[in-house]
Structures are given as structure tokens and as C-alpha cells.
Subunit: 179 residues, 2 copies
């Protein structure tokens, strides 16, 4: 197995974190991996909002994740929440979407987030994608510009040792087809 | 720089390929990286259709990429086209989309594709995401089930040595915000 194979295999959704902060230098390395990601027409339609001060993190937790249908309480233990936003451009995104029927900027967001998550894994950090949140409340408490749309959140921190969240995967035959 | 840093930095959109096939074993390794990717509610809403026979590749090229507004003629040199399809589920995808306003399955597709692309890069292969295509024609020539939706294509092959497509990236300040 190569280092990349190991990182891809090791990445698990971590929902229980140690009560220690993440070094700013490491967060910067993680963002750098995302920054280099490819995107449709190289538009890089992403903004990564790092909520790593206790105040910002707690407000995102309280107002953005607190009262959802799906419980996100575990996220309170994460020292950092990365709020992943998109900023769409008319021709590449809105117009292309209409013509092709695919919201490319979301594929781009996934691509960049995965670079970020893999780099975090390499640095010994745990992550978890969060898809249920109150986007309006998060924009308000973080005072984000109107043009930003919150697309997903990523919890970040040092995982507790006992964190061995294992999930199954479909077989290769179920996810591939040769022509 | 770690191996992962190098792979992330080395990955470029390759639009000119050598006229040699890609080993099936390597394609399988690439698909394995995608297979292990995380997804919303672990739904793994992806199917990777590998067009690697000359007939399939040429038909995708001719009918799926031939007459688009944006020129994709360069793709004719790629020995393999991976047709990335989604298969949505009602609760996780259609219902969640309505409630949250985010098409999660597209973020998932981006995540899995990036695992795939990084693994290809590690194996010395070139890739290029393709967003403009005739989805209906591709489904027809590859005889894909009605439930599949073509979301993007990935060209795959050995890059010509002179392939040094360099694209710029926004600065860190432009893509990040600390709170």
C-alpha cells in the first residue's frame, strides 16, 4: 500500500474529538490542499470559513447545528468547524447548470473538500462531513456576505483514540461497469 | 513535501494522451480509491462506467462529446473515458435536497472522483474532468439503465511528456476566512 492508499483507507468519519485545539499551521496546510483542487473552468467557487475560535465554534454549534432533525450534538466536541461556502458565477454555474442539468459547483466543492479531508487525515486529524445545518443561522452568526451559500460543514480535530467508526462500502461490482 | 502534497500539486488537467492503453489492473486500483470515499449517509450514490474498449470510447467520443458548444476534441486521444453516474435515493437525496437546498449526491460525486483522480496521478496517469457532454447520447450508446444520471466524465490515459498545462489558483486570502 502506498501512503495515499493508506490515507484513503484510514479516513473515517470522526464524531468524538480530544479537547485540544488544532494548530493554525496545520489548518493552513489543510486549506492549501483544498486551494490547489481543480474546478469547472478553474472558477474555484469555494470559500472555506474556519470557525476555530471558541466563540465562533460555539455559535455555529448552538445556532447552526443545535436544533436540526438529525442530531449533530457530537460536533460540540470538535475544536474547529470549517464552513464550506460556494460563490457562484453566472456563466459557469447558473447558465451551465440550466444547459447541462448538473450543478458543477457542487462537484467542485466535493473535489476541494476531499483534498482537504485527505490532508487532514495525513496530519493525524479527524474530520466529519456534516450535511444537516441551519445555513441561514450560520451565515448570520458568522456575519458572512450575502453572496456566500453554505454547502456543507466539516468538523475537524484530534480524534479520541477509541474512535473506530467503521462503515461498509458497496462491492466493486456494484459501483462499476465496464464497456 | 509529503507524497500526498506532491500528488495534489502534480495533478493537472491532461488534454493530450499517448496512444497506449491503460492497464486494467491500474483502472481497478483507481476505482478502488473511489469506492472507499465517504458520502452523505454512506449512500455511495455513484456508478463508474469505464469506457475502455475502442468501440465504447469512440462512441462516447462521437455521440457524447462530438457536437458540443465547448470543444472536447482533445478527448479523442484519451484511451479511457470514465462516465461518472449517480443513482439517487428518495430520502437521502431528493427529500434532503428539498429540505436543505443542497444536492448532496453531487458533493459525494466530487469527493469520490477526487479520490479516483489522485490515485490516477500517483500511478503516473493523466486525467481531465469533462463537464460538457450529451448525457442522453452517452446513456444510449453505452446502454445504461434509466436510473443512472451522467454527472461528469473523466478522461484517463498516459500523458504526453510535454503536457504541462498550468493553471493559476486564487490566493489563500481569497478562498479562506477565519472567525
Amino acid at each position: 500500500m502506498t501512503d495515499l492508499d493508506k490515507i484513503i483507507a484510514q479516513r473515517k468519519s470522526v464524531r468524538d474529538y480530544k479537547d485540544i485545539p488544532v494548530e493554525v499551521e496545520k489548518i493552513k496546510q489543510i486549506l492549501e490542499a483544498a486551494r490547489l483542487a481543480p474546478s469547472a473552468c478553474n472558477k474555484q467557487p469555494w470559500i472555506f470559513v474556519v470557525a476555530n475560535t471558541p466563540k465562533a465554534k460555539e455559535e455555529v454549534m448552538k445556532f447552526g447545528l443545535g436544533e436540526m432533525m438529525v442530531s449533530n450534538e457530537w460536533a460540540a466536541s470538535a475544536p474547529v468547524i470549517i464552513v464550506v461556502c460556494s460563490k457562484k458565477e453566472f456563466i459557469t454555474h447558473s447558465l451551465a447548470e440550466k444547459l447541462q442539468g448538473v450543478e458543477y459547483h457542487l462537484i467542485d466543492i466535493g473535489i476541494a473538500c476531499q483534498n482537504l479531508v485527505l490532508k487532514a487525515t495525513e496530519l493525524g486529524l479527524g474530520t466529519c462531513y456534516i450535511g444537516w445545518f441551519n445555513a441561514k443561522a450560520i451565515k448570520k452568526v458568522l456575519d458572512l456576505p450575502l453572496s456566500y451559500k453554505v454547502e456543507c460543514l466539516i468538523a475537524l480535530g484530534y480524534p479520541k483514540e477509541n474512535n473506530q467508526n467503521q462503515t461498509s462500502r458497496k462491492s466493486m461490482d456494484e459501483i462499476s461497469l465496464w464497456k
